[in-house]
Every structure is written in structure tokens, then in C-alpha cells.
């Protein structure tokens, strides 16, 4: 009788795991397709910002933006006046939920737009959090015209990385 229980339990468990595995393989395929698409898009928009060039090291969420901040704007000179218009990409900040990088659009010394080039996308939950937090952060930043804004509750890691990358872009734009 014990044998019967052991064999049935083993078979049932194996079956359940197999079903899980099968449906998981499907999810993994669609996931990787989505990742490829988004990579293409971000490559298309950010010519200058080397993907993954700005790997960050050190504590997470802190304001250290040691990554390279490259300007894709028209003004080439580093010491140019901050009034220069153009787009500036921030550093790539690594978090446990994926990399974050933002790009700002500057016109007449003001931040007119913030675009997220990469957002935490490690898993569905992170994507969900990012999609909620990014528009809020964008609005806050445009209103405050700086990286000194409140982090979004429930999206602390994403917010910190977002603002950290933003600071890099602001530095690059000399704002």
C-alpha cells in the first residue's frame, strides 16, 4: 500500500511538473521575443548611448552615477552653455529587477520630456511596477525640473534607479 502511494505520488508530481514546464516554455518564448523587440527599439532611438556601457558598481539606488553619460544632442562641446537644446541619455543603472536608463529632452534650458530607454523588466511584476512608476516620475521631474523628487511608493528600486540615471543625464546637459 505504501508502494502504491509512493508510485502514484511520484507519477502525479512528475505530471504536474511536466505541465508546468510545458506552459513555462511557451511563456519563455514570448518573453524573449518581447525582449528582442524592445532592444531594437531602444537601439533605434539612442544612437549615442552605448548599451550596457555604463555598468554601475557600488550600492544600489544611491545617487552614484559612475556610468558614462553620453550626449546625443547637437551641441558637442562639454563646456557649452546649458541652454543647448537636444537629448541627453543618462547612465545605465543596474538593479536586481533589471537595468534602468532614461533620456531627457532639453529645450531652452528646460526639461521638456523624459523618456525611459530601459526600465526594470526582469519579470512581469517589475514590468508592472515600471509601467506604473515611469509616467508618475516623468511628470514629477518635468514639474520639478530636477532629480529632486519623491520616489514612488512600492517602486522604490525603480524610482531610485530612474532618478539616478536622470541625474547623469542632467549632468551631461549641464543643467
Amino acid at each position: 500500500m505504501r508502494l502504491r502511494a509512493a508510485v502514484s505520488a511520484a507519477l502525479a508530481s512528475a505530471g504536474i511538473l511536466l505541465v508546468g514546464w510545458q506552459s513555462g516554455a511557451h511563456v519563455a518564448n514570448t518573453g524573449s521575443t518581447a525582449a528582442t523587440t524592445s532592444a531594437t527599439t531602444s537601439n533605434g532611438t539612442t544612437s549615442g548611448a552605448a548599451a550596457g556601457g555604463g555598468t554601475k558598481s557600488g550600492s544600489s539606488g544611491s545617487s552614484s552615477s559612475s556610468g558614462s553619460s553620453s550626449s546625443t544632442g547637437s551641441s558637442g562641446s562639454a563646456g557649452a552653455a546649458a541652454q543647448a537644446a537636444g537629448t541627453y541619455a543618462g547612465s545605465v543603472v543596474q538593479t536586481r529587477f533589471g537595468a534602468v536608463q532614461v533620456q531627457i529632452t532639453v529645450k531652452a534650458g528646460a526639461i521638456t520630456d523624459v523618456t525611459a530607454l530601459q526600465l526594470t523588466d526582469e519579470d512581469r511584476k517589475s514590468v508592472q511596477i515600471s509601467n506604473r512608476a515611469a509616467p508618475l516620475l516623468r511628470a514629477e521631474v518635468i514639474k520639478a525640473q530636477s532629480a529632486q523628487v519623491q520616489t514612488i511608493g512600492g517602486a522604490t528600486v525603480t524610482s531610485d534607479a530612474y532618478l539616478s540615471s536622470l541625474q547623469g543625464a542632467l549632468d551631461a546637459a549641464n543643467l
Binding site: A5, S13, A14
Partner: protein
Amino acid sequence: MNSSLQMVVPGAARSTPVERFRGQARSRLFRADLLTVLAWSSVAAAIALWLADGGATGFSTLAGSFTALGIVAGLAGMDLVLLMLLLVARLPLIDGAVGHDRALEFHRKLGKPSLYLLLAHGILIAAGYGMAEGLDPVSELVSLWVLVPDMWLAIVSIGLFIAVVVTSLVAVRRRFPYEFWYAVHLLTYAAVLTAIPHQFSTGALFAEGTWQRWYWIAICIATGAALAHYRVLEPIVATVRHQLKVSRVVTEAPGVVSIELTGRHLDELAGNGGRFFIWRFLSPGAWWHPHPFSLSAEPVLFDSSGRGRLRITVRNLGRGSAQLARLKSGTSVAIEGPYGLFSTAARSRDQVVMIGAGIGITPIRALLERTPFEPGNATVILRGHSEAELYLGAEILELCRRRGATLFHLTGPRTTGKQGWMPESAVRSGHRLASYAPHVAGADVYICGPTVWARSVISEARSAGVREEQLHNERFDW
């Protein structure tokens, strides 16, 4: 003479054409096997939830592999914790299939594995996340505590789980009073409750809108509801319904008393079900102390309304039991139960052998009263140091005489070794279990007594050809 043959009913045992208990045993074993399959399947299902979410893709990087293994350990660990809670929830399905004591045994066996899984979960996740961010696992834990909502609760939870399991280890448990262990064990509920928030808020697998979230919510709620219903609500209902009150306390032998209780609707407690209850005597200073005892007699009904009498017989084992001898009549009694399988519900054969030692004789007394057998088909073996320790011996003799059961009194000092359950003189005479009960291989064997003694009887019964489904052992040492 230490081993004396008290009475024999001669005559060939009439064997019924169809053994009436075979079907009952088959059904019970099927339910036990089904529960085993369900338990293992639930662990597999927890991991399948993660596989179905594409979790296995995490293994593409080293950091991802650590995180993935951590998630699997957490899922399996939480599933085991829920199973442990269900095993102590006193579900009728579990109690009727394996019995209260076996359920507790499985509960204990799962304790360490689930703790190891939860510890592995914490360590692997900290390592995996840390690697992804370039942090060492300790700094990662600190950052999780500070930055990620609900994570500090999860870290507190693991500390509580460690405390609960460590205080339940046999070696540690012996050093502290039962009450201390019990109080710490109640922290399990805090440990589980503090572990739950991070599973839903941080665990991506259970993000809003996923079917996995619904499954996990369902099993958590079902477990909580089972506990609330069967451990809180049912006992209250039973207590209010039966209105048990102590009617008198009778001294059976030095340090042994029978407590008689009157109550209502006691007809519902007759039948084939368990005879084991947890009793709380509602007097000042004693009400909070739960006593696990089996009935030492079948419920006696005064009339058709269900009013009647219950009896338990207890030995002065500890501080709590000592108070029982001084119980006043009229004391109200709260009960949880009946539980257990030391009853007709466990029968699988027509013949029956009942073996009791010390205070373990008293549940045998209740079983002997009504479990069905033809005259000559039952053997009762009582073991004690002296005749005076064969509690309720006179009642048992009378029942054996009336029902046609063979009774043996085995008295005398114990021996060591394989036949340790018999007195020394019986071992020297070359007696075995089959000497007393020649039909033991084809009988149900009920065993109740101290753990070491019972183990010796069980091993002897097995070597006499008794199969697992025929062995019924009630442990009362916890």
C-alpha cells in the same frame, strides 16, 4: 505465577463468510494513500506554478540560477508549512485516514525539511540578488530590509521559524516545560502571517492578475479556514453542545483516578469513531491546561434524549494530572474531539487482539466493550508490574467473560531485548505473542502503552506476520 491464563473460551472460531471489516480497511488505506499523493502533488504544484511562469529561464545566468533556486526553495518551503498546518488542523479526512497521532508524527517529520527550505530560500535569494547588483549577500539582505516593502517582515518570519523548530527538537524540548514549548509554538502563526505579505508584494510570480496569485491565495485561505474551523469553532460547538460536567472522581489505584462526566447528546459520541479527546477542566488555574485522554468506557446513555455519562481514567503523570484528582464535581469541561483511530473504525479483520500496558490499558477497556467480534475471536493481553497495576482489571475480566474473549495478565519485572514487552518469566519460558494469540497473524492488533514497550510489541507482531493495516497503536506520551 506471573503469566497466568485467566480464562479461555473454547470452541472453533466461526469465520463469517465475508469479513465485514475488509472493505472498511481498504477504503481507509485508499484515503491515506490519496492524502499522500495530494500532499506530494501540492509541492510539485508549487514548483509548477513557477515553471509555468517561465521561471526556468532564470538559469541562463549564475545570479539568475541562485535566485531561481531560492524561489523554488521558498515555494516548496511555504507549501510544506501549509501542509504542516493542515496536519495539525484535525481535519476529519486526515484523522479518519491515519489518526491523530500519525498526523502529528508527519507534522514533526516535516518540521526540519521546511525550515531548511526556508533558510535556503533566504540565503539563495540574497546571494542571487546580490550578484545581480554587485553586493555581498549580507549587504543585500540589509538593502532588502530597508528598501523593499514587506521584506523586513519576511526576515522576521524566518527568525520566528528558527525559534519554533529549535524549541521543538526533542533534545531542546525536554529541557523546558510543556507550557514554554506551547507558547513558542504559537509563534508559528506569527511566522506564517509575517511570511505571507512579501510573497504577494515582492514575489513576481504572484503579481496581480496572474492565475498563480489566485491559487496561492486559495491555498493560504483554505488552510487558515481549516484551522479556524476545526481547531476553534468545532471545539466550541462541541463544548456548548455536550455541556459536560464532572460528576465524580473515583480512585482506581494509588495515583490513578477515573473521572466521570455527565452531558448531553452523548449518543453522538457512540458509534465507531475515535475515542480520544482533549479535555480542559474549567476551574481556576487549570482551564488553560489541555489534557489528551481517551475514554476508558463507552458512553453510557441514561435515556433516549442523549443525556449520559463519559468516563476517563488517568494516572498522576505530571503537575497538570495531579490537579485532576482534586477536581470538584460540577466543574464544567471543554472538549476537543473525538479524534483518533483507536476504535472500531480502524478494524480490518474479524479477529482482534488487544494489548495494553499500564495506564494504556484503559482505552483497551473501552474498545473491548463494544467492538464487534464473535466469541472466541478476541484476545486481551494486559501488562503491568503487578496485578494492582492492571487498572480496571476487574471490569475487563467481566467484559471478557461476557463477550467471550481470552484474557491474559502478564505481570512481573520487565526485561531488556527484543521481547522486552513481556515479563522476564514469560521470555524465559519461551513465550511469544503467538503463544497467547495464535490467530494474531489474521487479527487486528490494538496496542496502547508506553512508547518503548509499544515499539517492542509492534516489532514482535510484525515478525508474527501482522501487516501494517492490522496494527493500531495509540500514542499518549505527548
